[in-house]
């Protein structure tokens, strides 16, 4: 059974007329007949969990927004998509932008947001243009902005704007994203207060991932129970799995949660080139703990199943590495990324990522010692949990778990410790009071 909610096999679905032919912009009409609370309840019932990596229940997140109608409220859509191994949101921008826009309208109505920003990473020039075209069409058709009142015959309206980033991984962190929209350096903020209390310019704000919001129209159209019945009950729906690395057919595959990882790799992504064995897999973007190739049999791809093997679903970006991959090199490259992207606010992350990179480069150069492996884990432990945002954890996990799970490979790369056989058994440096000449040593 194949079910497609986000990337449908309909030609030209990105065009507004085709989208409308298939019932597009009718769900928002239906949603506006209900109360915002009813919408939130429906989303809670669906069990939809955030697709940006943290898997937080979307309905619950929305319910944190204050009900006061007299203060400005904001909705930010996170399309920063900078997690290495993750390339799913751009598929939505390209192939299904109107479902995203309709999702934004419904979400904005549910939380009472008068202004919405779609934050898209600066490098995605092509996708920003595509999204802007879709947005312009929706404005013109009267589905967005003040014309909404006329089109749908309600008091509610909302504006949607695209905000272009400028190359900073950290701006995918929700509070850094808000600082970036405010025109500041993209530094994450200390929480609490959480964005629902104090977000953009100090007003209540909700931040959701692009894929999360694109799921909203089908949920409202078909009901929460329908959505909850797809895939794994604790993490329902479909996911956009981005498969990359050593596979024959890399790409984005929309599959229900709970799909077997082996099915994704061998059935959909065409298996490993040269029929090689798999050494290592990163299941959800480089921030998530890597797993061994011998752990994948029978492993389902959903938040709970991955937790059991000591990893996480993250953004669903699966990176496959075959048996010939140099994991030290991979880990050094991952660490270089976090070192480069650390915003520099918190000392453990700013300094720790640099130290981990230096040690890993030392091992790569052949100058590592077996002490270095424990030192790396020690540095990682001192970063994890000691920073304002999760970038610190994201930098620490690959190092910690890669070394833990592939210790043999790392051991083989560091120099063996040098053993020097010292014949004398005396190690004390204490000065002897008897003159040396009077000491008789018995060499036996």
């Amino acid at each position: 059974m194949s079910i497609k909610i986000l990337l449908k096999d309909i030609p030209d679905y990105h065009k507004i007329e085709v989208y409308r032919q298939h019932g597009g912009y009718e769900v928002i009409r239906k949603a506006l007949q209900k109360s915002p609370d009813e919408i939130i309840e429906e989303v809670k019932k669906s069990g939809l969990r955030g697709r940006g990596g943290a898997c937080f229940p979307t309905g619950l997140k929305w319910s944190f927004m204050p009900k006061d109608k007299n203060i400005p409220k904001f909705l930010c859509i996170n399309g920063d998509e900078s997690e290495p191994g993750s390339f799913k949101d751009r598929q939505i921008f390209e192939f299904n932008p109107h479902q995203l826009i309709e999702g934004i309208l419904i979400s904005a109505y549910a939380i009472g947001a008068q202004t919405c920003y779609i934050y898209i990473r600066g490098e995605y020039v092509k996708w920003i243009r595509l999204m802007q075209k879709a947005l312009d069409d929706a404005y013109e058709a009267g589905f967005v902005g003040e014309k909404m009142k006329e089109t749908f015959g309600t008091d509610f309206y909302t504006n949607i704007y695209i905000h272009r980033g400028a190359g900073a991984y950290i701006c995918g962190e929700e509070s850094a994203l808000m600082n970036s929209i405010e025109g500041k350096r993209g530094y994450p903020r200390v929480k609490p207060p959480f964005p629902a209390q104090c977000g953009l310019w100090g007003y209540p704000t909700t931040i959701n991932n692009v894929e999360t919001i694109a799921n909203i129209p089908p949920i409202i159209e078909n009901g929460g129970e329908w959505f909850a019945s797809i895939g794994e009950p604790k993490h329902p729906g479909t996911l956009l799995f981005g498969v990359s690395g050593h596979v024959n057919k890399p790409g984005v595959y929309e599959l229900p949660t709970g799909t077997l990882l082996t099915d994704i790799i061998y059935k959909y992504a065409g298996g490993v080139p040269g029929n090689k064995k798999i050494k290592c897999i990163i299941p959800g973007g480089t921030s998530m703990p890597p797993i061994r190739g011998d752990q994948i049999e029978g492993l389902k791809m959903d938040a709970e199943s991955l937790k059991e093997v000591g990893s996480a679903i993250g953004t669903g970006g699966i990176i496959v590495m075959d048996e010939d991959t140099d994991l030290v090199k991979v880990l050094a490259r991952i660490t270089k990324f976090y070192w480069h992207e650390s915003c520099g606010q918190c000392t453990p992350c700013r300094e720790g990522t640099g130290w981990m990179l230096k040690i890993l480069n030392r091992i790569l150069d052949g100058n590592g010692t077996s002490k270095d492996l424990d030192l790396l884990i020690d540095v990682a432990n001192n970063i994890e949990g000691h920073t304002i945002c999760a970038l610190g954890d994201a930098a620490a996990w690959p190092v910690k778990y890669m070394i833990e799970r592939f210790r043999d490979e790392f051991e083989a790369r560091v120099k063996r410790s040098i053993k020097i056989d010292i014949p004398n058994k005396v190690h004390s440096m204490r000065r002897t009071q008897i003159p040396l000449t009077e000491i008789k040593i018995d060499f036996q």
């Binding site: 998509e81 600066g122 991984y169 025109g183 981005g242 890399p250 984005v252 990176i319 990324f337």
Partner: protein
């Protein structure tokens, strides 16, 4: 130290109007800073100190604030760069599919190292972080465009096409 040739920074009325329109989308004008910086970079090739001062005056920010923003984001250049900015992604997915070989090939082909510009001012090579193109790796971004699913032959062809443009 000799100053670089200073160009007078001035937006046209049309550009100023565009900025003004963008401001209306936000509660405070500061939010438009990234767009102002993009415009400066597009017009003058890079963002000079004079440019930062201009942006600061335009939005009622301090020069220090603007400098802070410019240096935070990797897409802004504070020095002139080549006409074609070759941005090679070398993150894991691209690396597994030979991104470092492409980078080496590029360096050999253009006889410069990453971070440098060719003497004719045509090309600058940069090593960049994940471009979000892992499914079509390896990828190089040239100015605004993505070149995906690359190999050495394709890359050499693209470079020679750009040279002859």
């Amino acid at each position: 130290m000799k100053m670089e040739t200073t160009v007078e920074i001035q937006f046209t009325d049309q550009e100023l109007q565009k900025i003004e329109n963008l401001k209306s989308r936000y509660l405070k004008p500061d939010s438009v800073i990234l767009e102002v910086l993009y415009l400066l970079q597009e017009k003058y090739g890079y963002i000079s100190r004079e440019g930062m001062k201009y942006a600061a005056d335009l939005l009622g920010m301090t020069e220090e604030q603007v400098l802070g923003v410019v240096t935070f984001y990797s897409m802004f250049n504070t020095k002139p760069i080549g006409k074609y900015h070759l941005q090679v992604c070398t993150n894991v997915s691209c690396m597994l599919r030979g991104a470092y070989d492409l980078l080496k090939k590029l360096e050999a082909e253009l006889k410069i190292k990453k971070g440098e510009t060719t003497p004719d001012g045509l090309f600058t090579i940069s090593e960049v972080e994940c471009l979000g193109s892992c499914g079509t790796a390896p990828t190089i971004q040239i100015n605004e465009d993505y070149y995906e699913d690359l190999n050495e032959e394709k890359l050499v062809q693209i470079i020679s096409e750009l040279k002859n443009k």
